[in-house]
């Protein structure tokens, strides 16, 4: 039964901004699906507010709406496009919830849109805890296996407290219904914890529902990825076993595929249950993910949950097996059956089979607790990781060690030197699951812990524990050996030891180990991920390294370009860099090169085997990259290696690669140094006559004080060697400077502190540009909404700039060209400027693709990363203009006056983190980046574009109601006009006494409310925090100042996060919001596709 002929168009909903629990994997899935649907001849209409995605590239869909994913906006798109069908299963929980809500509101019926890929009943059965329990019971009645954990559904705190008795006491698990990534769930060991977790869970759940469950902490945890077609054919694509037992969210666990510790009987039982569930739930076509817990003592199986959609795990399973779940789900949704779809990898066999692996896959999570020092780092059932790395090896130890080094984080690799510490302390530490627990376990083993002790502390399966012992034994052998003989070296490599680790153990430099290894002929071979354990020949060159005998890398004739990806997503280096790498691959392929991608992030489009001609799923360390370059050199000519597009990860390898004779193309390592080294960059600026804020370095308080006294407060201070704004702070006075120096453990004579003049009230400007050595192409100029001092990644910005004139652009262009030339850029450069008074200061320059490249590309309809890749390989701006890759005339600095305004807004992960007392973490923005993702709002005027960006990021701005205002003294002047506007729009203002007084004197009435510190009034007058919690406040404006007033603000801001009330923490954001509210209140806000915007822009350019 082939494709349905009654469908001509399909609306695909994306997942919106990258947030914890819903990340780049949905770009991978959505991109695959859109491409497949388009290839099937359907008109594909896409909505996704996230500009950093490949799926929102104009060529992926026929009509691409970068608009907020809210029922309101999606209805506008439906009304305009009138799609036949809606595919809601590829955009995570966001898409599913939006689709369900539109179904419930009758929108789908009204416009005659058919839901495909999942029906509402199945979605509800899979997602609603109570209904799903019924499903599991029905399955048990049919096949005799599977049960749910004992549980009770609660709709109020009273239900919750009573529920604990029903379950037989603490600990219990709290799971709110219909939230993504397990948001709001957790373990409660006593009533206090229970009240807190369940209270938040009831709020977070759109149905005010939480489930209370018996604890199955410490059980083995498994996942199955299944697919079903309309003929009821079902296959299990992959089994995944969690290294960390039950109690840690699977997104935060180290996970392994295939399952390692199940007999066939036990595995088949999980499979039987899984198949019975997908049938019972009624997922007609598509994929689902089912999680199980297995009691290690007797094998009792509990079904934890299912996701009736493509998920993070399905993306991982696709990468782990070579079976593209999203792509096949899309085909099934339009009528194909599994046996009609060929297996891409073998081309000859059908997709109606179950992949079998002859390798082991390990995924390890990447956390960002260092960005949230007050957050509790204990891992729970709420996901907290911001990214992940996957590694493939021919055995578990190899895959595990590769995964750990792929994390690219200090201390993530096992270390075998130095004192391990006290065994008992280490074991006690390992009881609590945290980021890096596996390293504590390894140290405990080094300190003499027995396998039994490790198991008792962690409940990690004894087989896995033994594998850790195996690694440790090999480390011991390496340490004890007289010399590195080939046999021992090969054995160490077969268990995943890196040259760095071996060097550390032997007291040798990494390059010396490598030299010895090469001399002894110990080098990796590359094996293929082929879905079938070599039973059939693979047509897709998807490789991983192993220290085996036979390599499968085929010779080639075309010159290859190797593109180094960006590794695991982390705050500051996310999907935006993957976007640039993918674009490079596409552009270079079009230009006649063979493209070779290297990356270890399973969530991404770059690691789709369809993206490049060859894919190496490998860590991005010097060793791993050098071996790949070697293997590809043997295969055929290499045109170059691109390090510029994957962010800091590959950029950091640039010099070492060049030193090893690797042909790095694009901006040379020396130029990178010129931009990154403070002294060298200062030289570049001086030669170009460009000002930078005054600065100095100091190693003591006295030194720092002297600098600060000279350049004047406030100053921006930071440790000298960190990246991404770590430990950066704006210091307003000497007292704080003293305590900063005292608190910072990272400052010493060898690690000075940098003290910069902080430009108060400056406008920050971001520029993305291309330079070919002769000509500059200004990609775009972004004006930040928030003032300088807030990390550019966390700041909203507008493109074209909303308050800069032609003269400013001219200055920016000249400065950018001078820097690009002075540094020696060949490709992309990103420069941050600050405009203070009339002086344009240069803050920093990054000679690489920046986070804003996808945003700039979409806002100006010019593919900057593609152009950069071509320039790296020798093309000029003039040539690219002639070719049509760049506009024939003009650039991103001179957009027509009627060009649309694009606003980028950052999305923050506040709601994910709590401190050890269970209180929220503070939400103020600062010089350290903490956002996980971004959205774009695009419209003809700034106000509407800003309102869209807010709707996309945090939910719609309120158009009426109550606004609470409390600002720092320095902001009180700037607050008056926006406050007046709010009143004009019918808002009732609430304020604390100080702010209310200022407003009153300016003729604006505001109701005084009590501060949290004042407590409830004598007549029961509520504090602002109480009012927020009770849902009495619709908009919050709260700007912090230094350390004073901070505590009060903290409670307000965390309450806002808990209740999801829009909270503006800068006056600039307030001013922009007022423009947005104004736009929303004045007439209809429309939707327009990127293709329409581009057409308009191109027409205006011509």
């Amino acid at each position: 039964m082939p494709k349905r002929t009654d469908i001509q168009s399909v609306l695909v909903i994306g997942s919106g901004p990258i947030v914890i629990g819903q990340a780049a994997e949905f770009d991978y899935s959505g991109t695959q699906a859109c491409r497949v649907l388009k290839a099937e001849g359907l008109r594909v209409i896409l909505v996704n507010s996230n500009p950093a995605t490949i799926m929102t590239d104009p060529e992926i869909a026929d009509a691409t709406y970068v608009e907020p994913i809210t029922p309101e906006f999606v209805e506008k798109i439906i009304a305009k496009e009138r799609p036949d069908t809606l595919l809601p299963t590829l955009g995570g929980q966001t898409a599913l919830n939006t689709a369900i809500s539109m179904h419930e509101q009758g929108v789908l019926e009204k416009y005659g849109v058919e839901l495909i890929g999942a029906n509402v009943e199945a979605i509800n059965k899979g997602e609603d805890r109570d209904l799903f329990k019924g499903v599991v019971e029905a399955v048990r009645a049919k096949i005799g296996h599977g049960e749910s954990a004992r549980s009770v559904i609660c709709h109020s705190m009273d239900d919750v407290i009573q529920g604990v008795e029903t379950l037989g006491g603490y600990p219990v698990v709290v799971r709110p219904s219909f939230t993504m990534g397990g948001a709001g769930s957790g373990f409660a060991h006593d009533e206090e914890e229970l009240r807190r977790i369940a209270g938040q869970g009831l709020t977070l759940s759109p149905t005010t529902e939480v489930l209370l469950e018996e604890s199955i902490l410490g059980w083995k945890e498994y996942e199955l990825e299944l697919m079903r077609d309309k003929h009821d054919n079902v296959v299990v694509v992959c089994s995944i076993e969690n290294f960390d037992p039950m109690g840690v969210h699977t997104g935060d666990s180290i996970t392994v595929a295939p399952s390692m510790t199940l007999t066939d009987r036990e595995y088949q039982r999980l499979r039987d249950i899984g198949i019975a569930i997908i049938r019972e739930v009624g997922v007609d076509t598509g994929g689902c993910n089912i999680q199980f817990a297995v009691n290690p003592d007797d094998g009792r199986i509990i079904v934890i949950e299912m996701n009736p959609r493509v998920s993070r795990s399905s993306a991982l399973a696709s990468k782990a097996t070579g079976f593209p779940i999203a792509k096949i789900a899309a085909k099934l949704a339009v009528g194909y059956t599994l046996d009609e779809i060929p297996n891409d990898i073998t081309e000859k066999t059908p997709a109606s089979f179950e992949p079998t692996l002859d390798y082991v896959v390990v995924k390890a999570p990447r956390f960002a607790f260092e960005k949230f020092p007050s957050a509790d780092s204990t891992l729970t059932t709420t996901m907290k990781s911001v990214g992940e790395a996957m590694a493939i090896g021919r055995n578990f130890t190899e895959a595990l060690q590769k995964a750990l080094r792929s994390l690219e984080k200090k201390g993530s690799q096992f270390t075998f030197v130095g004192e391990p510490g006290d065994k008992a302390e280490l074991l006690a530490e390992a009881v609590r699951p945290t980021d890096g627990r596996i390293n504590s376990v390894m140290q405990a083993i080094r300190a003499g812990a027995t396998p039994e002790e490790v198991f008792d502390a962690t409940k990690i399966d004894p087989w896995f524990v033994d594998q850790l012992f195996l690694i440790k034994e090999i480390a011991d052998e390496l340490a004890a050996a007289d010399k590195l003989d080939p046999e021992l070296l090969a054995e160490a490599k077969r268990h995943g030891f890196s040259d760095v680790q071996i060097g550390e153990i032997r007291g040798l430099r990494e390059d010396v180990v490598r030299e010895v290894r090469h001399a002894l002929g110990v080098r990796p071979v590359y094996k293929t991920v082929d879905t079938c354990a070599a039973e059939f020949a693979a047509k897709t060159p998807y490789f991983y390294s192993s220290y085996d005998e036979e390599t499968e890398v085929a010779p080639r004739e075309k010159p290859a370009v190797i593109i180094l990806g960006s590794g695991p997503n982390r705050i500051g280096q996310g999907i935006e860099f993957d976007y640039s790498c993918v674009h490079a691959s596409f552009a270079l392929s079009d230009a006649g090169y063979e493209t070779v991608m290297v990356n270890c992030n399973p969530e991404t489009v770059s690691t789709d085997y369809d993206t490049s001609d060859r894919l190496y799923f490998e860590p991005l360390t010097l060793e791993d990259v050098l071996e790949i370059v070697h293997a590809e050199t043997l295969a055929g000519p290499i045109a170059g290696v691109i390090v510029q597009l994957g962010g800091q990860t590959p950029l950091g390898l640039s010099q070492a690669l060049k030193d090893n004779g690797v042909p790095v193309v694009g901006t040379p390592p020396e130029a990178i140094h010129a931009a990154e080294d403070r002294g060298a960059f200062g030289q570049v600026l001086a030669e170009a006559g460009l000002p930078a804020p005054k600065h100095g370095t100091a190693t003591t308080f006295a030194g720092a004080k002297a600098i600060a006294d000279e350049i004047g407060y406030p100053v921006l201070v930071r440790p000298s060697y960190v990246l991404g704004g770590r430990g950066m702070e704006i210091v307003y006075d000497e007292t704080r400077l003293a305590s900063y120096i005292e608190e910072s453990t990272e400052i010493s004579p060898s690690r000075p502190v940098l003290v910069d003049r902080f430009l108060d009230d400056a406008i920050e400007i971001d520029v993305d540009a291309l330079y070919d050595g002769h000509e500059l192409y200004l990609g775009g100029v972004m004006e930040h909404i928030e003032e300088a001092g807030i990390h550019s990644g966390d700041s909203a910005c507008a493109l074209p700039p909303i308050t800069l004139g032609g003269f400013d652009i001219k200055r920016l262009r000249a400065s950018t060209e001078a820097i690009a030339k002075g540094v020696g850029v060949r490709g992309l450069i990103n420069i941050q400027f600050a405009m203070a008074g009339d002086i344009l200061y240069v803050l920093e320059a990054n000679p690489r693709a920046s986070r804003t490249v996808p945003f700039t590309s979409k806002a100006t309809a010019v593919p900057l990363a593609k152009a950069a890749a071509r320039i790296s390989l020798g093309a000029t701006v003039a040539e690219l203009r002639a070719e049509g890759l760049l506009p024939a005339v003009g650039d991103g600095g001179e957009l027509p006056l009627d060009a649309p305004i694009s606003v980028k807004e950052a999305v923050m992960p506040w709601s994910r983190f709590r401190d050890i007392h269970g209180r929220g973490v503070d939400t103020i923005l600062g010089p350290e980046m903490r956002s996980t993702g971004e959205v774009m709002g695009i419209d003809s005027v700034f106000g509407t574009a800003y309102a869209k960006s807010q709707a996309g990021a945090y939910g719609p701005l309120p158009t009426k109601g109550r606004a609470f205002i409390s600002v720092a003294n320095r902001d009180k002047r700037s607050m008056i006009f926006p406050a007046r506007e709010l009143v004009a729009h019918g808002f009732e203002l609430l304020a604390t006494s100080g702010t209310a007084e200022v407003l009153k004197r300016n003729g604006i009435n505001a109701t005084v409310v009590r501060k949290q510190s004042e407590g409830e009034g004598p007549n029961g007058e509520k504090t602002i925090v109480q009012l927020i919690h009770e849902g009495e406040v619709d908009l919050i404006v709260n700007t912090p100042y230094g350390t004073g007033g901070r505590l009060d603000g903290y409670d307000i801001r965390t309450a806002a996060v808990a209740r999801s009330v829009p909270c503006l923490t800068t006056v600039q954001a307030l001013a922009a919001a007022v423009q947005g509210i104004d736009a929303l209140n004045h007439g209809d806000v429309g939707v327009r596709s990127l293709q329409e915007h581009a057409e308009h822009l191109t027409a205006a350019r011509d």
Partner: protein, 394 residues
């Protein structure tokens, strides 16, 4: 937790050297696994990621050296419930990374111990993927594993491998089948054994290398199974007054199975409901007059897509066969027992995976619906067998 039986990494690395030699001369060097010694057989690869205990004890692997494509083997140890027969049948075992510590609540001992105890010679630490690719490209072939501290020279080893018997033309089923008849009682709805003679159906199962799960799947459906030796005569079969007759899986070349073929023809004559699995399917093919042939490298795994041509549905199935029936896929064939058609086909390579007679109550499949190891998708075939027996009564 069980303590390490295999010793430390260093002890393991110092295990006796072992060499695997293929008849075309390709050689892999690794370490001894299981018993130390010499063994020969046909090199075949199995792609299942679970179920090594079932694989090792499947009589169809008699005289074969099995290469596991899954790298980790032995993780769940050995228990006393999962074996498919009373002993390990594989002639040799090839794995990449054997477990040092078994971990499973049902585990009784380590796989290594079990292999040593049963004298099974194995090799570990070789590039099993390279070996698998070699067998895929060149076809299944003879192989020898030599382990120990005093290995013969390369030429001697190769010569020995080339002297070993080939699988084509080998008659092996008698070597693995039971010598005495035994009865597997039916299982009642209460989960208890039904007294002998009181079951709803009786089946005579001809043992050509039967796996333990097969009579169990029948017993679960109320069938009392009389498992007869491979040499059983037609009279022996009808002496148990069967409602149906079953022909099992088994090793070797079906072209050398004259006796079972003639017995099956007699059963077809009498129109007794008949069901065959694997070797039993090849016997039915030959009984109907079709040919059988050796596949290049066979089907061995638990992920094979088979389409039931009567319903169009695809089932994921367990396979272990090196031979197949040569029957036309696109038409109904006339046979001495009426019309026959191919009921099941493997979607990977269009190999015949099932036959059924349209005029008599007989059918068979080339794969393993009893599925141990493997998925349970094809268990419905046992229900079909029951329906045939039920239909014959009505």
């Amino acid at each position: 937790m069980t303590t390490s039986i295999q010793g430390t990494a260093s002890q393991r690395r110092k295990a006796a050297p072992a060499v695997l030699v293929l008849e075309d001369g390709r050689t892999f060097r690794g370490r001894a696994y299981g018993a130390v010694g010499v063994t020969f057989g046909e090199a075949v690869f199995s792609t299942g990621m679970t179920g090594y205990q079932e694989t090792l004890t499947d009589p169809s692997y008699h005289r074969q050296v099995v290469v596991m494509t899954a790298p980790h083997v032995g993780n769940t140890g050995v228990n006393d419930d999962d074996p498919e027969s009373k002993r390990i049948w594989v002639a040799g075992y090839v794995v990449r990374d054997p477990a040092r510590v078994p971990s499973n609540w049902r585990s009784r001992r380590s796989l290594d111990e079990e292999l040593v105890q049963q004298g099974v010679v194995g090799i570990s630490g070789i590039d099993t993927r390279a070996l698998t690719r070699h067998l895929r490209e060149r076809g299944a072939m003879r192989v020898g594993i030599f382990s120990g501290n005093a290995l013969p020279d390369a030429g001697t080893m190769l010569a020995e491998v080339r002297q070993a018997p080939e699988m084509k033309g080998a008659s092996l089923y008698e070597e693995v089948a039971t010598k005495e008849t035994y009865v597997v009682p039916a299982i009642g709805p209460d989960g208890e054994a039904v007294p002998i003679g009181a079951a709803k159906y009786t089946v005579a199962a001809v043992d050509l290398g039967i796996k333990g799960m097969t009579p169990h799947r029948m017993a679960e459906r109320g069938i009392e199974v009389h498992v007869l030796p491979a040499t059983a005569s037609v009279e022996d079969i009808y002496a148990v007054e069967p409602d149906g007759v079953f022909f099992s899986n088994g090793p070797g070349d079906p072209a050398k199975a004259e006796h079972p073929v003639s017995v099956m023809r007699a059963v077809l004559e009498r129109k007794t409901p008949l069901f065959g699995i694997c070797f039993g399917n090849q016997i039915l093919g030959r009984a109907l007059g079709f040919g059988t042939y050796k596949l290049k490298y066979g089907h061995r795994g638990i992920n094979q897509p088979v389409q039931d041509r009567t319903t169009g549905k695809v089932e994921v199935t367990a396979h272990n066969h090196g031979f197949a029936v040569d029957a036309p896929l696109d038409k109904v064939s006339e046979t001495p027992y009426g019309r026959a058609e191919v009921s099941h086909v493997c979607l990977n390579d269009q190999v015949v995976e099932g036959l059924q007679l349209l005029d008599r109550p007989a059918f068979s499949v080339q794969y393993h619906p009893e599925a141990a190891a493997g998925p349970h998708d094809a268990a419905y075939l046992f229900d079909r067998f029951v329906e045939l027996m039920e239909g014959q009564r009505a």
